[in-house]
């Protein structure tokens, strides 16, 4: 026999450990010691079965500690006091005597401890602890139900096995239901675990303006910008279009909201992606350059091939998009050349001279573009994030003096020169590259991949993507494909794939997607072609019918394959009911009783022959069978 109380105690300690272990590294020394001492004291007292201190004494003792942490709490330091108080409360519960209520409190406090550990570090291991804890809590709840009935209850091992099996089965059986409920339930936008750690503003590599020369160095941030699920693409095609900067103001490029209308033609093979941006202040929706469609309710597309969400993307979502990656965007009809040639008045003289030179030498826009490319290629420009030109004349310095800068310098200068040389041009802001995660089948794009390139308009061809940064003398070294992935990088990608799976299936699944699924189901239903669908479904239908038939045969075998005697008797009963109007109750009424009830001679004859054989445990002779059949064929209708 196993005492339920000792089992519930063991489970409570295990649950507590699931909450303590992930939180332990983040705790201060006092709560750490309290937890360890509480756990050990609890186990020791449990073994001895003696509880010298009462729970109310513990509660009283913990009150000043609680007050201390309450005073420590502030807006600047909200987490540590709360977590410490939680840990100490758990420690106190662990070392006191435990009733059912106390066991439940331990489970709740442990869950809070585990949840608060996610404020410090939300790693996939958290999920492991959570799963383990929920499983243990489920088993513990079942055992506590027994404990509540009788605290001294003991079960034999076979009985206990059954109880434990139910405890384990219940959470497992909940899983399919969870999957059923998850897609249909409305949900909140507040994340459960890291409410306090909700991202407010992420230091973004992507901004709403391009302003080279604001600082001498640029810090690279590895913060994730977005993930894009798609098949692997050639690395040189990974230009992620976000926004277009179409106006130069002073020495910076900005986006003029009044984009002149033009009709872009998306020709060629489309690459489908599902993009999951990280929450941030930006409204731009990214997609491989150039996106033909972005399927996201409320998303707005502009005529320059960019898409925007009406509000900043402060919550997780995902959207599907299709892109043409040819690098050229043909237009139907022309464009507003004047708009894409506008320049500020205070362009440095040297820039004007260089542009004028190109303009003169080039006979058409294509030639001018080529000349400018040559200038950049031969000009020994270097790509660098350090020692950058700064100040108002940063671009001029970049072009003629320092000759080193990052993509913003290259693109700004290139577009400026193009416009000055009379070629319509604009800047495209987005990202370049991405780490492909083979496990998750997606590109991981981080902020350090933010990039700006140029689109030049060539009459008859359309907008042509030109990346001036690639003309840098050290471009090969900077963007070389030959980067070997280190083990740390591989691990990061692995962990990220788990994180992404969580985000994709749990966090980004929102009401809009629910609507989307309902809508697409509706569409599919509208497109439903009867004949085609029937043909497709026929094999399954047949198979299920055969299976159902087999099941019926197996279950109802005695009824379907009745013996000859039973068939005779069944037919006899049917006829008696039909012809004599007597309600037959086989089983509760004997054959002779039925016969007597009808008062019919032939019924009695049948009963006599049948019972004469069957009730005496001998087979009906062929003559008897023939006679019975004849009686049945004639029926029992009495003609008067």
């Amino acid at each position: 026999m196993v005492a339920i109380s000792s089992l519930t105690a063991v489970l409570s300690y295990a649950i507590a450990l699931c909450g303590i272990v992930p939180l332990f590294p983040w705790l201060a020394a006092t709560p750490r010691m309290a937890l360890a001492a509480g756990l050990l004291a609890g186990i020791w007292q449990e073994r001895r079965g003696v509880w010298p201190l009462k729970n109310w004494q513990f509660n009283l003792a913990v009150l000043p500690v609680f007050l201390y942490y309450a005073f420590q709490f502030s807006r600047a330091n909200p987490v540590q006091p709360v977590v410490s108080a939680l840990a100490i409360m758990l420690a106190v519960r662990l070392c006191g005597e435990k009733s059912v209520r106390h066991h439940l409190q331990i489970a709740a406090l442990s869950l809070f401890c585990l949840a608060s550990s996610s404020l410090f570090d939300l790693s996939p291991i958290f999920l492991l602890y959570l799963t383990l804890m929920l499983l243990l809590v489920a088993v513990s709840l079942v055992l506590l139900t027994f404990h509540a009935q009788d605290s001294r209850m003991a079960l034999s091992r076979p009985h206990l096995r059954k109880v434990l099996a139910v405890g384990v089965l219940m959470p497992l059986a909940s899983l399919p239901l969870l999957l059923l409920f998850f897609p249909i339930l409305p949900r909140t936008q507040i994340p459960l675990w890291n409410i306090m750690a909700a991202p407010a503003a992420r230091p973004s590599g992507f901004s709403d303006k391009v302003e080279p020369g604001t600082s001498a160095t640029v810090a690279e941030s590895r913060t994730i910008a977005f993930r894009a699920e798609m098949p692997r693409q050639p690395q040189q095609q990974l230009y992620w279009r976000g926004t277009v900067f179409n106006r130069m103001e002073g020495h910076r490029w900005v986006r003029d909201a009044t984009v002149p209308s033009e009709h872009l033609l998306y020709k060629g093979a489309r690459i489908a992606q599902t993009v999951y941006p990280e929450p941030g202040p930006s409204r731009a929706l990214f997609s491989l350059d150039a996106p033909a469609i972005i399927a996201l309710p409320r998303a707005r597309g502009a005529s320059d091939g960019t898409f925007e969400y009406p509000v900043p993307l402060t919550r997780r979502l995902g959207y599907r998009t299709e892109s043409i990656t040819s690098g050229i965007l043909p237009t139907a009809g022309g464009i507003n050349r004047f708009f894409y040639l506008r320049l500020p008045t205070d362009i440095p003289e040297r820039v004007k001279q260089l542009a004028g030179d190109i303009r003169r030498r080039g006979t058409d826009d294509a030639r001018r573009l080529e000349l400018l490319e040559q200038h950049f290629r031969n000009g020994n420009y270097r790509y660098s994030m350090r020692d950058l030109p700064t100040g108002e004349h940063a671009l001029e310095q970049f072009l003629f003096v320092k000759k080193q800068g990052h993509c913003e310098f290259f693109a700004s200068a290139f577009a400026l020169l193009l416009r000055a040389a009379g070629v319509p041009a604009r800047l495209v802001g987005g990202y370049l590259g991405g780490d492909y995660n083979d496990l998750g089948g997606y590109y991981l794009v981080s902020d350090d991949m933010a990039h700006v390139w140029v689109e030049a308009y060539l009459e008859g061809r359309g907008w042509l993507r030109v990346d001036p940064s690639s003309f840098a003398s050290n471009a090969g070294a900077v963007w070389g494909d030959g980067k070997q992935r280190s083990p740390a990088m591989k691990l990061r990608l692995f962990l990220d794939s788990l994180d992404h799976t969580w985000n994709r299936t749990i966090v980004t699944y929102d009401f809009e997607q629910q609507v989307e699924i309902a809508r697409s189901a509706g569409k599919r239903l509208q497109k439903f072609e009867m004949g085609k669908a029937a043909r497709a479904a026929l094999p399954y239908l047949l198979l299920s019918m055969v299976l159902a038939f087999a099941l019926i045969v197996i279950v109802r075998r005695p009824w379907l394959f009745a013996s000859r005697n039973e068939r005779l008797l069944r037919r006899f009963y049917r006829l008696v009911e039909r012809d004599c109007g007597v309600r037959v109750q086989p089983g509760s009424q004997g054959l002779f009783e039925t016969a007597g009830q009808t008062g019919n001679a032939r019924v009695r004859e049948f009963a006599a022959i049948y019972a004469g054989a069957v009730y005496r445990d001998r087979k009906l002779t062929p003559q008897e069978v023939a006679r019975l059949h004849r009686i049945l064929e004639e029926g029992f209708v009495t003609r008067t």
Binding site: L141, V142, T145, H159, K162, V166, M170, P171, F181
Partner: protein, 257 residues
């Protein structure tokens, strides 16, 4: 998270419902139930489910007393007993029995009420204190010192024929070996019948007399014929448990029908 909780609640709800389904309770009263004395009732429960055992099932009678079975295996019957006390004599009925369970988690109690037709008679409260002839004799139960001779008791001794004894008492085999006639002497087995006259019993009021009469019946009916005279009705004196129950039932229902 909400989905998870809902799913878990659905599963526990279903498990709880299934736990108390397919259970057939039965209540078996004891043969004798006296007013104001706790009587052990047997509660039996049968799990008709073929595959799933039932856990923590509580059977409860209308009085509130119940019994909890931690586990009832598939197709298994289990029984326990509870003590029920009835304040008054007469007909009594336990018309329903409640099966309840807090399983699987102790948040809700699910219950199921079954109609039972458990009818029985509560015999009157027993009150000792009346002695009716031959009382001492019964005290010496098991001794052989009875004075009366009879024909239906045990063979007590062999004596010389005095001329009074019936001839069939002569022990011919022994007499043949000796010179005089010897007879077998038997003890008397049958005690004098006791007929309880309800109206002539001492006691304050009818209930007390009935209680005393019930005590007398219970006390004597196994040892000597007991009869009952009440309300002009006479039940002839007989012995035996069955007769005793008949008399007790008569007393229990006196003035109640």
């Amino acid at each position: 998270m909400v989905s998870g909780l809902l799913a878990f609640m659905s599963v526990t709800g279903y498990a709880g419902m299934r736990n108390i389904k397919g259970l057939i309770p039965e209540i078996v009263p004891p043969a004798e139930i006296f007013a104001e004395i706790a009587a052990p009732f047997r509660l039996r429960i049968h799990n008709t489910k073929r595959h799933s055992p039932s856990f923590l099932v509580r059977l409860e009678c209308p009085g509130g007393q119940g019994i909890t079975f931690p586990l009832i295996g598939c197709g298994v019957s289990t029984e326990g007993s509870i003590s029920l006390m009835f304040p008054d004599r007469g007909h009594a009925v336990l018309d329903r029995i409640t099966i309840s369970s807090t399983f699987p988690v102790n948040f809700f109690t699910r219950y199921w009420t079954f109609a039972t037709a458990c009818r029985f008679i509560v015999f009157p409260r027993l009150q000792a204190g009346v002695t009716v002839g031959d009382g001492d004799e019964a005290q010496r139960h098991g001794s052989n010192s009875r004075q009366d001779r009879g024909l239906d008791g045990e063979l007590e001794r062999i004596a010389t024929y005095s001329g009074r004894e019936p001839l069939r008492m002569i022990h011919w085999k022994l007499s043949a070996r000796s010179e005089e006639l010897l007879v077998k002497e038997f003890g008397r087995q049958t005690a004098a019948p006791l007929v309880i006259d309800l109206d002539s019993l001492p006691g304050q009021g009818l209930e007390q007399r009935i209680s005393r009469a019930a005590w007398l019946v219970r006390r004597w009916v196994g040892l000597r014929p007991v009869g009952l005279r009440c309300n002009g009705k006479v039940i002839p004196a007989e012995t035996g448990r069955h007769h005793g129950l008949k008399l007790l039932a008569e007393l229990a229902l006196y003035g109640r029908d």
